[in-house]
Symmetry: C2
């Protein structure tokens, strides 16, 4: 029986710490307890919403997904002069939607009917970009947070594919591995399908992010675990392990998740200066770790690699460095540069296509700023009669396309 008193540096109730206690329920609850619980709940309400109650602050719900397929944004700010909302629900990038102030101080705006999709948005309040305080669902892209919402209409649409449905769910893990080539402990994200039981073996898709991204990008912005859960549940793709490594050789992990501290990532965070090797050169460290630590099918026909933008470039490099390791390649909006007048490169590419990969897939949007680079790559492949598949759709260098490409690629692999 000891009583220890320490000074923990002050006694604060943070304004946003609304975690409250309720009594543990009991099968034999009685009236007195119910009253106590009621009082307790009332207290919680007062504490939690005290600020709102005092200022007659209306309870704001935003965004509201309306039955007609439109979406309404709401934002309470009686003193603001001008409030707009912008995001990828607009038909033209950067176009804003003017919000209109109601008598109760709530600004509101409603979109046109939106197609099924995962959308992101933010508000501008008198010129200041802010995220919607009524929506705690956010994605981080490099160092910028944006709110998200999903529109879905029917079971076969993109919104349904990107949302969490009542299906078996895989495990999503942040895993540290040793990279001898880079001389680092590094973090990756690993998706294990719901059927993974530590006994049966599964094929592996390596899924690579773009410049500015990290090992969280495909899971958050790319909705990878939702897409995989849903495709597997619908029988549209084979249950597989998905490995999402960090593609920045000078970062051990996503910002805030390694010993560099809570820095603000910008372009300088992602240069390769001082790295012991490139992502491609160190890639077999990842494959070896995965084969050593998970129940994988350890053969070429059970390994795929795909990535977006810089990660598409990595996929390209990996394809001609390790053709014996992977059988399926997906270059998404790829920063994949053909090496001109390079005998070693030509020989590597010849070896790759002589090995007859089961899929060499190039996907890009019409308006992608890397279209010219991809045209050059295709010209090179065509010139050598190297077999590949090409997919071109609308849009540019955006996550909306990469989610589409992931879902398409996942359905193409490990089926024969």
């Amino acid at each position: 029986m000891k009583k220890v008193m320490v000074n923990n540096g002050g006694c604060f109730k943070p304004m946003n710490s609304t975690s409250m206690a309720i009594s543990p329920s009991s099968p034999k609850s009685n009236c007195r307890k119910r009253i106590l619980l009621f009082v307790c709940c009332g207290l919680i309400t007062i504490i939690s919403f005290g600020q709102q109650a005092l200022g007659q602050r209306p309870r704001v719900k935003s965004p509201v997904l309306n039955a007609d397929g439109t979406v309404t944004f709401n934002f309470f700010d009686p003193t603001a002069q001008r409030v707009t909302v912008t995001g990828d629900f607009r038909e033209i990038s950067g176009q804003t939607l003017q919000m209109v102030k109601q008598e109760n101080g709530v600004w509101t705006a409603t979109t046109n009917t939106l197609n099924p999709e995962l959308y992101s948005y933010s508000f501008s309040v008198d010129g200041q970009r802010i995220i919607d305080p009524s929506n705690s669902y956010v994605n981080r892209d490099i160092s910028t947070l944006s709110n998200i919402f999903i529109v879905t209409k029917e079971k076969d649409d993109k919104g349904h594919l990107y949302q969490v449905n009542d299906v078996p769910h895989g495990t999503l893990s942040r895993v540290w591995y040793d990279s001898p080539t880079l001389g680092q402990q590094r973090r990756m994200t690993v998706y294990l399908p719901a059927a993974y039981d530590g006994k049966k073996r599964f094929p592996v898709m390596y899924l690579l992010h773009g410049h500015g991204g990290d090992e969280t990008a495909w899971g958050d912005l790319g909705r990878a675990s939702q897409i995989m859960d849903n495709l597997i549940a619908e029988g549209k793709c084979v249950p597989m392990i998905v490995v999402m490594p960090n593609g920045n050789p000078t970062c051990n992990a996503a910002p805030g998740w390694w010993h560099e501290g809570m820095y603000t990532p910008d372009g300088n965070a992602f240069n390769n200066r001082g790295a012991k090797a490139t992502m491609e050169e160190s890639f077999m460290d990842i494959v070896n770790f995965v084969d050593d630590n998970y129940k994988t099918i350890r053969k070429r026909s059970a390994r795929a690699v795909t990535g977006l933008s810089m990660g598409g470039g990595h996929t390209f490099g990996i394809s001609y460095l390790y053709p014996e390791v992977f059988d399926y390649y997906g270059l998404q909006s790829a920063a994949a540069r053909v090496k001109r007048n390079d005998v070693q490169f030509d020989a590597q590419m010849a070896r790759l296509f002589e090995s007859k990969p089961r899929l060499y897939w190039i996907a890009i949007g019409k308006d992608d700023f890397l279209m010219q680079m991809n045209n050059e790559l295709r010209g090179y492949l065509d010139g050598h009669n190297y077999l590949y598949e090409y997919y071109e759709n609308d849009g540019g260098h955006i996550w909306r396309n990469w989610r589409i490409y992931l879902a398409m690629f996942a359905q193409k692999i490990f089926k024969d």
Copy 2:
């Protein structure tokens, strides 16, 4: 060779999608490539920071951790009339710090010297609460986002304990399990220590959140994986598995992570109405799953359970329901209500303490609103001469205390 064209619903470049491509590096880089890369980087800069450049927007860094232990907040808003910052760095809860506008439109304020700690804060701009747009590090508490930063001075302080250091890191997984008692697939968070290799067996700490929380709370607000990584690396606690389940019987997972969609959690999201059983009644589903799927030491002396607030109440209930299963109990700011004049409860409590648990630990802050309930519990235990340890410190019902309690409890268990 096939070319497929689809309409993916528009061609947008979302304002915040700043993911850019760079060419994959090559050991044989030449001058032409460097120029191209330079042009490319320039383009990235222009696109990424285009808005800032056009409006002569100054580059704002916030928060700035100064060498003297103070912290400076900065916020650009030339048109705002009044900007303040508040958070748990203030000595009095809810107290704000006035920010002062500079000529360049940047509002700024500097704190007093701060003790080592994880702090959270937000801005108020003309009465509107917003998070700091220069700081992408946020925690969610129920449905409210707040920015965070960590102050650390030396190796032994709390800031150092809560930050990510250059030590071996455990694996953090979001895992779905079957709960036959609740009739649900449910999600839990599992921390595996860095030494976990699938062969050696480890003891397990079950770590339970409070009302309004979920299976992400201890990892995010509680910094559990950082605390465990650091304590284990320093040899201050035994390597162990930490299981953080979801304690809300009517929620399968955290908001947005189950098929209820992206709802805004409030008090109603966490009532137990319609649940097939309570958390305590269904708890052995969790223990059985963990023992079946991880390399655990399957005996009482290798199992601990601890929780905060509602989770402290769960710990209390679990202690008298399953005394044969757990040897270490930690009640943190616990909603642990003694059942008066209840013969069954008295018998359960007698059985619990006859089983001589190695640790029955009660921790609470002086200003905690559950102090009276804890006093009653201690009175009951004292009245029956049941052995327990008591720890009381400053402060109330706040995460700052729960992080302290976790670190203390982790160092007390599995050592004999």
